[in-house]
């Protein structure tokens, strides 16, 4: 039998291949840089589509056509968003209420500070703790005052209710990006393998099976990560709700805090931070305490909330992270922190949200490429 005609692996040919790869990478990088404003919406749309794929698959298995399933999903999401928007809009404090809350928060902060530092008894010297930490805490209190200070329009709103302008201009500015994200979302959800087939059609026969395996690895990683994050967000949201209720926050507010903490948990560490910030805000500003423990009162309410958040964090670290997220994302915490910070620096809040899945995807890509090319004897 004749020996097959195979590409000769001469140094010149390898050099040519490397040069072609390098040139291709440069062109891709240039295109990526030029279209960088669209990268994030595309990523967001694709990631959201992956999160929604099981729902579409569930409906398809019940003989619902794919297009109808997607339309139902989009209608449901729009309905939920409209409902949530209406609820938030009706519950959101007016300009006047915000101004009042700010004034109240500043007053409570000063009262608590004076109480802890012993400034009620000795207005200038305070207690020993105050003398020890005053150099750090006084500027901190000043910064809180600065943060809570009324803007001129808010001061006016205090006099003329409901006159604070909303930043509609900002929404209009980001709208095209969200249209792109929506289109990508629908496009990825509609896909039944066409994207993969299209990519593979550019691959030579020699690399067909390795690339097929690499794409399979990437899809598996993304699916597993999306599922794990979704489950963890739900679990954390529920846990925050329960622990905050035990600490004394009424159910409706605990549920709201749990909801936002669960949502924020898409970004590492943001869920617990949200629970802490919102819980402490309620503990300092809220009047109602409904704890099953009689010893929790207005004086130790913030400490109870703090303990509740610490317990939630411990449950998350000991149970949820290893059991749920576990194998889905083996990234070092330092990599996560640097990645989130870099994402936030480059693309803002959405960049921070998508940093971890992007890093996990990149790591999976590099690992899979090396593993498959080695298995196929290409390197």
């Amino acid at each position: 039998m004749a020996e097959p005609a195979r590409a000769a692996g001469s140094p010149a040919r390898r050099l040519g291949t490397l040069a072609a790869f390098g040139l291709g990478a440069c062109v891709l990088a240039w295109i990526g840089w030029k279209t960088r404003s669209l990268i994030l919406p595309c990523m967001a749309g694709a990631f959201l589509a992956y999160l929604c794929r099981p729902a579409v698959g569930f409906m398809e298995q019940r003989r619902v056509p794919r297009a109808v399933a997607i339309a139902l999903l989009v209608a449901l999401a729009l309905g939920a968003a409209a409902g949530a928007g209406h609820a938030i809009g009706s519950a959101a404090p007016s300009g006047e209420t915000i101004a009042k809350l700010k004034v109240r928060a500043a007053r409570v902060a000063h009262e608590r500070y004076a109480q802890v530092m012993g400034l009620d008894d000795a207005p200038f010297t305070g207690n020993g703790f105050y003398r020890l930490v005053r150099k750090e805490t006084d500027p901190l209190l000043a910064r809180i005052d600065q943060f809570l200070a009324l803007e001129p329009d808010e001061a006016a709103a205090r006099l003329v209710p409901g006159s604070v302008a909303r930043p509609l201009g900002t929404i209009a500015h980001v709208l095209p990006g969200w249209i792109v994200a929506f289109l990508i979302f629908v496009f990825v959800l509609m896909d039944t393998g066409e994207i993969k087939r299209g990519l593979l059609s550019f691959v030579s026969n020699r690399f067909f099976e390795p690339v097929l395996s690499i794409l399979s690895d990437l899809e598996y990683t993304l699916r597993r990560y999306a599922r794990a994050v979704f489950i963890q967000c739900v679990l954390l949201g529920g846990t925050v709700t329960v622990t905050q209720m035990i600490a004394g926050i009424p159910f409706r507010w605990a549920a709201v805090i749990g909801f936002f903490a669960g949502m924020a948990n898409v970004m590492p560490y943001a869920g617990i931070t949200t629970a802490l910030a919102c819980g402490l805000a309620y503990a300092l500003l809220g009047d109602e305490i409904r704890s099953p423990f009689p010893f929790i009162d207005a004086d130790n309410f913030p400490v109870a909330v703090l303990i509740a958040v610490l317990v939630t964090d411990a449950i998350k670290n000991i149970v949820y992270d290893p059991k749920v997220l576990g194998g889905a994302m083996r990234l070092h915490p330092v990599v996560i922190v640097i990645g989130v910070a870099s994402g936030a620096e480059m693309f803002g809040i959405l960049g921070a949200l998508l940093a971890v899945p992007a890093i996990a995807f990149a790591v999976a890509f590099v690992t899979s490429v090396f593993r498959q090319l080695r298995a196929y004897g290409e390197i």
Partner: protein, 165 residues
Amino acid sequence: MTSDFAEVPAQETIAQFLSRTNLFGELDARELKWLSRIVHVRHFADGEFVYEEGRPGAALFLLRHGSVEITRRVAGGATLSIAVLEPPASFEELAALGSDLVRWTSAQAKGKAELLALGRSDLESLARHRPEIANKVIVRLAEVTSRRLRIVLESQGLLSEAVRG
């Protein structure tokens, strides 16, 4: 429209071709249409390898046009021809069933050839979106594989020896 492959109807769609294969002949038209959207069409030049012995397998192949020779390396570096396949043959079904398979033969196009490939990941995706089709396909793959195994064993006289022994 003209075809490079005289033995095959030029206008035959992928779904029609799939209906002629041993593997997917029992699927209905709707299921075949769905399947035709996920298989990969690959074209091979004369002498080009479809796959090579010793490399992992990730897809099964269906020969649509042309012919493919299955070979195996033997002692001394020679190559033994095992079979020459004609359309609508299917081969390497095990690779699509998810076993971590290292191929023990090579497949090489004899003349120009067109093949359809169905990857393991395609089958997994099918199982998520159309489990009823995936179930039929997997059952059929298992049948074909077991039949092939029986043929191999019978050809080596192992079954009859086992029955006697």
